[in-house]
């Protein structure tokens, strides 16, 4: 992939009766596509640049994760309120049936939005979403979040020492910016885990049958956070969905296998 970085601008939309000023990163041209970020917050990344070549990417920042507005998380009290806020955001942004891509935590959000509002999206891509639970395949989300930072790459990547993995985990080069970056990422994780703690099961499994749009499920076979067994759980519950399991690939599929991840997404998006 040799795509150039897209020009990213920022929009703010008021949702949830004005209680939340939702910040949305926007880039690209073409039909609208929503990206829902994982636990540590939104990081603009090569995959989004790629998508922005033919879609207008809208990437909202989960309430509370926008720098300078930490208390916004208190305005969203339940997971249902989070879903309703995002549904309002789609309308406030004037998006007509966008495609939704959600990763990990964002995958749970996107999947539940698609189940709760069956005509909100025109297509759905789930990158190793949380949201289900099997006793024989526990998801060590609590262990990961509570554990030492040095253990984090082991949960996320098939090859934690690869250049791509190290780049994805990189802190700012300017040492003076590092404390704020660490603090922000910790707070972001607090804001997302509010709706995923200690077990991210809001009954999504009982709603997935309501999803009525073309759906692609992408998983890494070596996912150490959400075991690959869940790929079939999603696939079986969402009628007509397609499941792609990538070899030599961990939880962060687009970091471990950028080309193949983009290939399956690109094909799904009609490219």
């Amino acid at each position: 992939m040799t795509t150039h970085a897209a020009a990213v601008r920022e929009e703010t939309v008021e949702v949830w009766d004005g209680r939340v000023k939702l910040r949305v990163k926007v880039a690209g041209d073409g039909p609208p596509l929503l990206f829902f970020h994982p636990l540590p917050g939104l990081a603009w990344q090569p995959l989004l640049d790629e998508i922005a070549q033919r879609h207008t990417v809208y990437a909202p920042e989960h309430p509370g994760t926008s720098p300078g507005d930490p208390r916004a998380i208190e305005q969203v009290q339940t997971f249902t309120e989070l879903l309703l806020s995002y549904e309002e955001a789609v309308r406030a942004l004037g998006l007509d049936r966008p495609v939704a891509i959600g990763q990990s935590f964002g995958g749970m959000v996107a999947a539940d939005l698609a189940a709760t509002f069956p005509s909100l999206f025109s297509g759905l891509v789930l990158l190793a979403p949380i949201g289900l639970w099997r006793d024989d395949a526990p998801i060590p989300l609590m262990e990961m979040v509570a554990g030492p930072p040095e253990d984090l790459p082991g949960y996320l990547f098939a090859h934690p020492d690869s250049a791509a993995a190290r780049a994805a985990m990189a802190l700012p080069e300017d040492p003076d910016l590092i404390p704020a970056a660490i603090a922000q990422q910790a707070w972001n994780t607090g804001c997302t885990t509010k709706f995923a703690w200690p077990i991210a099961d809001h009954g999504l499994g009982r709603r997935l049958h309501r999803i009525a749009v073309p759906t692609l499920v992408v998983w890494g076979r070596q996912d150490a956070l959400v075991p690959v067994a869940y790929a079939r759980e999603f696939g079986d519950r969402i009628a007509g969905s397609r499941v792609e399991v990538l070899d030599d690939c961990g939880h962060a599929v687009q970091v471990d296998q950028p080309a193949r991840t983009w290939a399956v997404i690109s094909e799904f998006l009609g490219g």
Partner: protein, 442 residues
């Protein structure tokens, strides 16, 4: 009854500084080197426990608290931690009620300080309101109601409360408990976290509208403002070493008190200090050093650093300030390898002869304007006989020097329980409790 064989003579109590014996409830037989392989909390492997030794550890804690009450301490104090090897006290009101009944049976005028049930952790705040009220009745109006937020590992891992909700829950629960204690008629509670159709608890505290409220904390400005605004008591603990962090925290507290128009009444401030006293300095080190060092390494030292503040427990500005090292570095982060010398030099623990200990405590009590003192006299593997020696020596030779420190300033200790239930009917209560304890028909 336990400990009847030793009853030190009581110390006169008319003077003012109140001194309480604080006790954690550790398993006293942690294997050496435990901290190199395990955490002391959440995942601490129960396989290291021998059941008979667990029973002994728990009962020793009870016996030592009763010993302290008999020795003349003004109060006894326990706290709450779940799934922990260093403080096996998942509900401190259980142990506190046993001590309260023992104290009533012997007519001991001792405050029961629970420091306390964690309000950010609980899913049943009314249970806390009821338990505290019951304790206040049982103790004859001698309860000190501790309202801690709860440590992150306990609230967010053990109880699995989302970290970012911990403080919101704390605020709601505190408001509900205070109202449940004092509102005469049943009322509905439609909270963010709790819904009750009719709140009407039985019993209510003897001390109305509420027992004294004490709040332990690490001294963040937000917590201190909350404490001062509501006229609660601030409790600081010595884990970080007062020589390293005390100055900053205490100075901030008194500066905020002045800024908020509060008086400088030293009884607004309580401090918990680990103390180990023996006949001489040399003997104290010989008797206590191994226990202290092992305790901090395998207990507080074996709590993973990340378990003190899960993501969301503290706001970004607070985390950033901590990472920038804006304050002095305390001992808590270094406990796993702490040496006896570091523990003593930083004053995490004060160890020595009665004179040495009294000199050091008196100096910082005066310097930082501390009115209510908690002393932790048992640590880790310390056996009961050594702990009871520590308690007796402290009561006889250190405590009397501390009580009169603020007498010449003439302040009133509004943060000490009033003992209102101790008047009418107290004799009958004591008789009933004593009868029950000895197996007679009451």
């Amino acid at each position: 009854m336990v400990g009847c064989e030793q009853t030190p003579s009581p110390v006169p109590k008319e003077a003012s500084v109140k001194v309480s014996m604080f006790e954690q409830v550790p398993y006293r037989y942690m294997p050496e080197g435990f901290e190199n392989h395990h955490s002391s909390v959440v995942t601490a492997p129960y396989g290291v426990v021998e059941p008979a030794r667990m029973t002994e550890s728990l009962f020793s804690a009870y016996a030592e608290l009763v010993h302290a009450a008999r020795a003349g301490f003004d109060g006894v104090c326990v706290t709450e931690h779940s799934q922990s090897s260093y403080d096996i006290s998942p509900n401190p009101t259980l142990l506190a009620s046993a001590v309260a009944c023992a104290a009533r049976a012997e007519n001991l005028d001792v405050a029961i300080c629970v420091l306390g049930r964690s309000l950010g952790k609980t899913r049943e705040p009314l249970k806390i309101a009821e338990e505290y009220a019951l304790l206040d009745c049982l103790s004859g109006g001698r309860l000190i109601a501790g309202f801690p937020v709860g440590l992150s590992y306990d609230a967010n891992l053990n109880a699995s409360i989302p970290a970012v909700e911990t403080r919101e829950r704390y605020r709601e629960h505190r408001e509900l408990i205070l109202r449940a204690w004092s509102e005469p008629d049943p009322f509905p509670w439609n909270g963010r976290f709790e819904k009750y159709g009719q709140v009407n608890i039985w019993p209510r505290p003897v001390q109305q509208p509420r027992p004294p409220v004490w709040i332990p904390g690490t001294g963040s400005p937000g917590t201190l403002r909350d404490i001062l605004a509501n006229d609660y008591e601030f409790v600081y603990l010595s884990w970080d070493g007062p020589k390293l962090t005390g100055r900053q925290v205490f100075d901030r507290y008194w500066a905020l008190a002045e800024e908020m128009g509060r008086d400088l009444n030293p009884y607004r401030l309580a401090f918990l200090q680990v103390v180990a006293v023996s006949e001489t300095d040399e003997r104290a080190e010989k008797e206590y050093a191994q226990h202290l060092q092992a305790h901090y390494r395998s207990g507080l030292g074996a709590i993973p650093g990340s378990a003190f503040a899960l993501p969301g427990y503290a706001e970004p500005a607070a985390i950033e300030a901590m990472l920038r090292g804006s304050g002095p570095e305390g001992m808590l982060g270094r406990m796993k390898t702490a040496t006896f010398k570091e523990i003593v030099d930083s004053q995490v623990a004060i160890v020595g002869s009665p004179a040495t200990v009294a000199d050091q405590i008196e100096a910082f009590v005066r310097e930082f304007r501390i009115g209510n003192l908690l002393v932790m006299l048992q640590n880790g593997s310390m056996p009961r006989d050594l702990t009871e020696k520590n308690i007796s020596l402290f009561a006889e030779q250190v405590l009397p020097r501390l009580r009169p420190i603020w007498d010449d300033e003439g302040w009133v200790n509004h943060w000490w329980p009033r003992g209102q239930g101790a008047g009418a009917g107290a004799g009958a209560v004591a008789e009933a409790v004593a009868g029950a304890a000895s197996g007679r028909e009451a």
